[in-house]
C-alpha cells in the first residue's frame, strides 16, 4: 500500500510541472458550481452543456451542486469567492436574479457574465373538464367575474407567477392566484380539480397535455409551438397583442463567470460554448425536452438578465416579498 502511495506521489510531482508549463487557458480542470439541486432543470442543463464543452477542451469540467441560502445565494457566493480566472463556472438560472433583493447577497446581477443555454417556454392551460376552449373564452370569463377563476403557479415571485401577472396586466383579466411550492404541485392541483388554470413551462406540462389531462390555450411567447401528437399551440399574443408589452418572460438557464475574468479565458469559454451549442447532442436534447435554445453570451445575454432582474426585483418589491429595495442595488424599474 505504502509503495503505491509513494509511487503515485512521485508520479504526480513529476507530472505537475508539465501541467503548469502549458500556460494557455484551460490548463487544468474546470469546476462548474450549480446553485440548484442535482437532477433539477438547471443541473441537467449545465451537465449536458459542460459535457459537450469539455469535448472541445483538453480538460474536464466537473459539475458540483452547492444549494441553499436565498435564491441560490450560497452557491453563487461560493463561486464568486473563488479566483476570477475562469476555472470556476456558476451554473444558474433566471430565478437567481432575486438573490440581491432578497438579501441573499449584496451585488447586482451584472457582476456575472452569463452564457444562456435556453429554457422551456411558459404556457397557460386549463383542466380538461373546464368550459374554456380558447384563450379568449378564458380571458373574457375572467374579465366578467374578476378573481373568480382559480389559477395555479409556483410560489409568489417565481417565473411562472410573473408570467401569470403579465397575462393579467396585458389582457386586463384578473385571476384568483393560488401559489404552490413548484410546478409539479400546481399541475397536480389542476388534476385534483383544486384550480382551473395553470401556468408552468411546456417541458413540465407536455406529458399532461399529451395525456389529455390539461388543455393548452396559449403559449406565452410571440410564436406558436409545435408539439408532437398535439399539434400547434397558438401564441396567446395572437388574441391579445397587448401581452407583448409584458411578455415574454422566459427561463434563462445556463452558467456564468465573474465579469472580470481575463479576456483570454472568456474567449475560450465563449468559443467552446458556441461549439457545444451547435452539436447534435444538445439540439436533440433540447427538442426532446421542449427547450428553446438561446446560445446568447456577452452583451446579448447581459441584456436578457438585466431585464429579468429588473422585472423580478420590482415585482417582488411590489408584492412586499423583497427585503432589500431594488433601488439600493441600483436596479432600474422595468
Amino acid at each position: 500500500m505504502k509503495k503505491i502511495i509513494i509511487a503515485s506521489l512521485v508520479l504526480v510531482m513529476a507530472l505537475a510541472p508539465l501541467a503548469w508549463a502549458k500556460k494557455s487557458f484551460p490548463s487544468r480542470n474546470i469546476t462548474a458550481v450549480v446553485v440548484w439541486g442535482a437532477g433539477g432543470g438547471t443541473d441537467t442543463c449545465v451537465r449536458i452543456i459542460t459535457a459537450e464543452m469539455q469535448k472541445f477542451m483538453d480538460v474536464n469540467i466537473n459539475v458540483i451542486n452547492k444549494t441553499g441560502g436565498v435564491a441560490g445565494s450560497v452557491g453563487m457566493s461560493h463561486a464568486y469567492s473563488q479566483k476570477h480566472d475562469g476555472y470556476t463556472l456558476c451554473g444558474l438560472s433566471e430565478s437567481n436574479v432575486t438573490a440581491g433583493v432578497q438579501g441573499g447577497w449584496d451585488k447586482k446581477f451584472d457582476v456575472w457574465d452569463t452564457f444562456i443555454v435556453g429554457g422551456s417556454p411558459d404556457l397557460i392551460s386549463v383542466t380538461a373538464d373546464a368550459p374554456y376552449q380558447t384563450i379568449q373564452e378564458l380571458i373574457e370569463a375572467a374579465k366578467k367575474n374578476p378573481k373568480s377563476i382559480k389559477a395555479a403557479a409556483s410560489g409568489a415571485g417565481s417565473i411562472h407567477h410573473l408570467n401569470l401577472l403579465a397575462v393579467e396586466n396585458g389582457s386586463g383579466a384578473q385571476f384568483h392566484f393560488i401559489p404552490y411550492k413548484g410546478s409539479a404541485p400546481s399541475q397536480n392541483a389542476a388534476m385534483t380539480g383544486e384550480v382551473t388554470v395553470v401556468v408552468t413551462s411546456l417541458a413540465e406540462q407536455q406529458q399532461l397535455l399529451r395525456g389529455g389531462k390539461l388543455r393548452a390555450l396559449g403559449m406565452l411567447i410571440p410564436d406558436s409551438f409545435e408539439v408532437a401528437d398535439l399539434g400547434t399551440i397558438p401564441s396567446a399574443f395572437d388574441a391579445y397583442p397587448g401581452l407583448s408589452k409584458y411578455l415574454p418572460i422566459s427561463q434563462a438557464i445556463g452558467f456564468a463567470v465573474p465579469a472580470d475574468v481575463p479576456r483570454e479565458a472568456k474567449d475560450v469559454l465563449v468559443d467552446t460554448f458556441n461549439k457545444a451549442m451547435a452539436t447534435d447532442k444538445v439540439k436533440t436534447w433540447a427538442k426532446e425536452n421542449y427547450y428553446l435554445l438561446s446560445g446568447k453570451t456577452g452583451a446579448e445575454s447581459k441584456a436578457v438578465f438585466d431585464a429579468l432582474e429588473s422585472n423580478f426585483a420590482w415585482t417582488l418589491w411590489e408584492l412586499g416579498a423583497a427585503t432589500v429595495s431594488p433601488e439600493t442595488l441600483g436596479i432600474p424599474k422595468p
Partner: protein, 508 residues
C-alpha cells in the same frame, strides 16, 4: 388475460435484467452503498440518490434505474441498523423502528431484530412491487383525491400520531414536542408569499431549518450525552444469535406484515409524504390492534416489523404516482424524477405509450433490489452487530464525528453545525424531562406541509373551513384526528368505558 400477459412480460424483463452480470454487480454495489448511507446518521437515501444521479449520467437508462432504485431500497432499509443498535435513526424513516428496536438491542436481541427487519423489509418491498405491476392506475386515482385540505390534515395527523405513540408517560408531552417541531418548521421564508418569518435578519435562517441537522442533533446528541454520563455499554449483553430469520416468527407475523405493507403502499402513493410517516402510522396501527399494547416501546418485535415493512413498502408506493402521473410520492422519488428526466424519460400519463415496458421494468428492478437487499442484509447483519462490542470510549466519539460530518455534508453548510448542537442539547434536557424527541423531528419534517397546505386551502376556499366536511377523504381524516385527541381526554375515557360496559351487559 391482459394481467397474465403483463405477468409474462414482467418475467421476461426480470430474466433479461438478471442475466446481465454488469447489472448484478451494479445492483449489489448500490444496495450495499444504500445500506451504508441509510445506516450512517445524516446520510439519507435522498442524498444517496442525489449523489448517484450525477454518476449515472453516462449509463443507459435501465442500468441507471437499477443503480438508483437499489440505493433507494437499501437506504430505506439501512436506517434501521443505527436505529436498533444505537438508538439514532439513520434516516427519519427509521425513527419508529428505534422505539422497539433499541430496547431489543439492550436486551441483547439486536441481531434477532435486524434479521427479522431484513426479511420484513424485503417482503414489504416485494408486496409494494406487486401493486406497481397490478393496480397502479387505481392507486393514482386515489392519490388525486388529495387537495390542500387533505394534505394539511394528513400532515397534522402524522405529527399527532407520533406524539401519541412515543410518549413514555403523558401523551400531551408528545404533542408538545410535536408542536415545538411545528414551530421550528415555520422559521424561514414561507413558501407561498415568500415572507420571512422568525429569521431575525439572519440570512442562514432564510431558507428555513434543515431536517437533517435537526434529526442528527435531536437523536444523536442526547444519546451521546446519555451514554457518556451513565457509562453504559450496550454490547456487553449482546449474545451471538442466528441472524437467519426464524421462519416461525415470520409466518406468525404474516398478517401484520401484509397490513404494514398495505399501509406503506398507500402512504407512499400520496404525493409529498414518504417513508417517515409510513413507519409511524404502521407502528401506531400495530400498537392499537395488538392484544398486548403495553409491550410496545419495551422491545416488541412486532413494532419493529411494522415500521420497517411499511417504510420499505413505501418505496414501491412512491413509484406509483411518479410513474403514472409524474408526481413524486416521496422525497427520494423526487430525486428519481430528476434522474429520469436526465435520461430522457419523462414519467406521466403518457409513459405507457412512450416507454411501454418501463413500469414493468421498474417493478422488476424493485424485485431484484429487494432480493439483493435481503442477501446483503443477511451477510452484513452479523458484522454490524459487532459494532456494539466496541468500547464506549471509542465508539461514542466516532458516532459524534459521524454526526458532525452528517450534518455538514448536507450542502456543505457550516450553519447546520451551529443548528445541530443547540437542538441536540435542548433535546437532551427534553428527554430527561420525559418528552419524546421523535414528534419534534416529525414536526420539522411535516411542518412545512401542514403550514403551507392549510393556508393554501383557506386561500382556495376563501377562508371557509366547510370543505373539510364536504370532501370524503378530509372528513375521514378529520374524524380520526378528533378521535385521537378525544381519546386522551379523561371524561371521554370514562364515557367510553361506560358505553363499553353497557354494550357488554346488553350482549350478555
Amino acid at each position: 388475460m391482459i394481467l397474465l400477459e403483463r405477468i409474462g412480460s414482467f418475467f421476461t424483463i426480470l430474466l433479461g435484467l438478471a442475466s446481465e452480470p454488469l447489472n448484478l454487480a451494479i445492483l449489489f454495489g448500490s444496495v450495499v452503498m444504500g445500506i451504508l448511507f441509510g445506516a450512517m446518521p445524516g446520510l439519507t437515501s435522498t442524498l444517496g440518490v442525489a449523489l448517484l444521479t450525477a454518476l449515472t449520467y453516462g449509463m443507459d437508462t435501465s442500468l441507471a434505474m437499477i443503480c438508483l432504485l437499489a440505493i433507494y431500497v437499501g437506504g430505506t432499509y439501512g436506517g434501521s441498523y443505527a436505529a436498533i443498535l444505537i438508538n439514532i435513526p439513520g434516516t427519519a424513516a427509521a425513527a419508529a423502528t428505534a422505539m422497539d428496536g433499541y430496547p431489543l438491542a439492550c436486551k441483547g436481541e439486536g441481531g434477532r431484530a435486524i434479521g427479522l427487519t431484513t426479511t420484513a423489509s424485503a417482503i414489504g418491498t416485494i408486496i409494494s412491487m406487486l401493486f406497481v405491476v397490478s393496480i397502479s392506475p387505481l392507486i393514482s386515482r386515489f392519490a388525486l383525491q388529495f387537495t390542500s385540505f387533505e394534505f394539511f390534515l394528513l400532515a397534522f395527523f402524522g405529527i399527532l400520531i407520533s406524539g401519541t405513540l412515543t410518549s413514555p408517560d403523558l401523551v400531551i408531552k408528545g404533542w408538545i414536542a410535536g408542536l415545538l417541531g411545528l414551530f421550528l418548521a415555520c422559521i424561514g421564508r414561507d413558501l407561498l408569499q415568500f415572507y420571512p418569518r422568525f429569521t431575525y435578519g439572519i440570512p442562514d435562517l432564510e431558507s428555513g431549518i434543515e431536517v437533517v441537522p435537526v434529526l442528527i442533533g435531536a437523536f444523536g446528541i442526547p444519546q451521546i450525552i446519555g451514554v457518556i454520563k451513565d457509562r453504559f455499554q450496550i454490547g456487553k449483553t449482546q449474545k451471538l444469535q442466528r441472524i437467519l430469520p426464524e421462519i416461525g416468527t415470520v409466518l406468525k407475523n404474516i398478517p401484520a406484515i401484509i397490513r404494514s405493507a398495505l399501509t406503506g403502499v398507500g402512504i407512499g402513493a400520496v404525493p409529498g409524504i414518504g417513508e417517515d410517516i409510513a413507519g409511524w402510522v404502521s407502528y401506531g396501527t400495530a400498537k392499537n390492534t395488538s392484544k398486548h399494547p403495553e409491550t410496545f416501546g419495551k422491545g416488541e418485535i412486532q413494532g419493529v416489523i411494522a415500521s420497517e415493512t411499511a417504510n420499505n413498502a413505501c418505496v414501491g408506493g412512491a413509484m406509483i404516482p411518479l410513474l403514472n402521473l409524474g408526481i413524486p410520492g416521496s422525497p427520494p422519488a423526487a430525486m428519481l424524477l430528476g434522474a429520469l428526466m436526465l435520461h430522457g424519460v419523462t414519467p406521466g400519463p403518457m409513459i405507457t405509450f412512450e416507454h411501454p415496458n418501463f413500469i414493468l421494468e421498474v417493478a422488476a428492478i424493485l424485485l431484484l433490489a429487494s432480493m439483493a437487499m435481503w442477501v446483503a442484509g443477511m451477510l452484513l447483519a452479523k458484522q454490524v452487530v459487532k459494532v456494539l462490542r466496541i468500547p464506549t470510549q471509542v465508539f461514542m466519539p466516532v458516532i459524534a464525528m459521524l454526526c458532525v460530518i452528517g450534518s455538514y455534508s448536507l450542502g456543505l453548510n457550516i450553519f447546520n453545525l451551529y443548528l445541530m448542537l443547540p437542538v441536540g442539547i435542548i433535546c437532551y434536557f427534553l428527554t430527561t424531562m420525559g418528552y419524546p424527541i421523535a414528534p419534534l423531528v416529525i414536526g420539522v419534517i411535516l411542518g412545512p406541509m401542514a403550514d403551507e397546505n392549510l393556508r393554501r386551502a383557506l386561500m382556495v376556499s376563501e377562508g371557509s373551513f366547510l370543505p373539510v366536511f364536504q370532501r370524503p377523504v378530509s372528513l375521514i381524516l378529520f374524524l380520526i384526528i378528533v378521535w385521537t385527541i378525544a381519546s386522551q381526554l379523561p371524561w371521554f375515557k370514562r364515557k367510553l368505558s361506560a358505553i363499553k360496559k353497557a354494550v357488554f351487559k346488553q350482549s350478555l
